[in-house]
Amino acid sequence: MDYVARDARCHGLDLPFTFTPHPLVGNDQSTLETYLRGNDPATGVPILEEIIQALTKSFPKSRQPVETAKQRLPRLLSSDNEANLQRLFVENGWTDGLPIILPTEERVAEMLSGTSHDRDEVVGRMTITTNQEKLEYTVEKVAVNAVMAGARPEHLPVILAIASIAEGSMPSSTTSFARMVMVNGPIRNEIGMNSGIGALSPFNLANSVIGRAWTLMTINLGDARLGETFMGSQGNTTNYNNMCCAENEERSVWEPFHVEKGFKQEESVVSLFLGWSVVNSMGAPNRRAAHEETAIILPAFPAHTSSATLIMDPLVARGLKERHGFESKRHLARWLSENVKIPAKQYWSADLVYAFVLPLAEQGVEPFASWHKLPPNELIAHYNKPENINVIVVGGETNPLWQTTDFRYTRSASIDAWRPKNPIPAGLRMPRAPVDLTCRGGACELPPASGRIRPDGPESGNGNSGAG
């Protein structure tokens, strides 16, 4: 019922809605007919009776007036002790389920030292739904959520850049999207982001809090409410920090991702990706080359937008270039586009293809119209747009592995546009990860990691030799 009120507020029209049991997809015809002859689960009224009433004059004329605007939210919440405020945030659904740093005025003011933009400047409007009410947010609102995530002022320009793109990390979709945040440029090292060993694992402060801030912004500034606006049936664990990491530009043999997108190498840029699936290479390209292995993995995805993103250890990139002649990321993308093929029957049987591509084929849009006429066993090179196949170099060169995803690139934004005029002194920045993995050439200006305290005395190894 909240959905109906929200829809009316957005469109100024109190449309009559009838709800069926959910989901409809995947049910046989007899179940759908049972649903049709049953009751609206929201009102208890028979569905058919409700629909006929909505179309005819028996529909009540005097319904609730459409509420076309909401009151302004207060800037401050009522005073309370810390325990009660933590409870308030959890019970209102304003967190990701983890404890937060309470956004006091002092902490938010400190956070705002991370940008020169006015705290009242509107950064954007966002909703995780489609065509529904958007929430507007200012620099201060972004800073509030950054504090909650545990971020520091030096992280704020990256978080503001993400906010400026105005995409939620958790779209409303029942399909439970995964998302990825990728940072390029000098700021990676200035704030100690990890692009090396374990870059996608939870060790690094900047990677963790920047990715987490995106999801807290999605909840509070994109109106993600479980079971109301967010309907992901299973949810997605990537959304805890959205695979936030940096590209290992220093160890990559190829052009950085942001340069491919038209930015200068010295610019700091954040890029966002959207998809569902991440498949590890499950072994090194030892007996089969990485591009050939990827061509085996990619057909599992329907690729309805021809999109894929490979997250590749620098060793894999180097091998592809030096042993197999892939001089650039584009070269590899073209090879995959030409060589990944699946039978027409497999392609057209995918639910995503039914929903998004079949309508285009029926409209005569090529190449889909031609593909739709092919015999079932005819092969289709369904990654037909190589420009939608992305390659990002991430990892610490402990093993030549890579991850194949169905992620599509959505947008990039300048981080530099949100930096403070006076850089935050290095001494005031937070420590980096426990091991100095990312500070190269003194870019982070911080002293080497030191003073690590071990409960069992001097460094003696971690007892986990691993399998190499």
């Binding site: 929200r6 469109h11 100024g12 005819t56 076309t68 605007a69 401050l76 002790n81 304003w94 285009l360």
Partner: protein
């Protein structure tokens, strides 16, 4: 330690509201006039493209035909995916239809 925890819990704190400001400001519109009855009318059933929607509307079309023999139900799937506009179809419905039921499956 326990004393510090108790003191901390008693100290009052003020924090900022984390939520964004709702913005919807739509001009209030009226619904189209309702029909006296469905007898003799053309009723469009439009599937927007989510899975299961078309099949559900097909069942509804069958029921309409049986229950209201004079009703002309027209079942269509909108062009493009569920996120795209389809002005040609809206124009067709305005010109030829008396009522429309949109089905959103999934």
């Amino acid at each position: 330690m326990a004393t510090i925890e108790r003191l901390r819990d008693k100290a009052l704190v003020r924090v900022l509201h984390p939520r964004g400001q709702p913005t919807a400001k739509a001009e209030t519109l009226s619904l189209a006039p309702r029909l006296d009855s469905l007898e003799g009318k053309t009723v469009y059933l439009i599937d927007v493209g989510f899975g299961g929607g078309y099949e559900f509307l097909a069942a509804m079309k069958s029921w309409l035909s049986t229950t209201f023999p004079t009703v002309k139900p027209v079942l269509k799937r909108k062009a493009g995916n569920m996120l795209l506009d389809n002005p040609e179809l809206w124009a067709e419905i305005k010109a030829q239809g008396h009522a429309v039921i949109f089905g959103v499956g999934g």
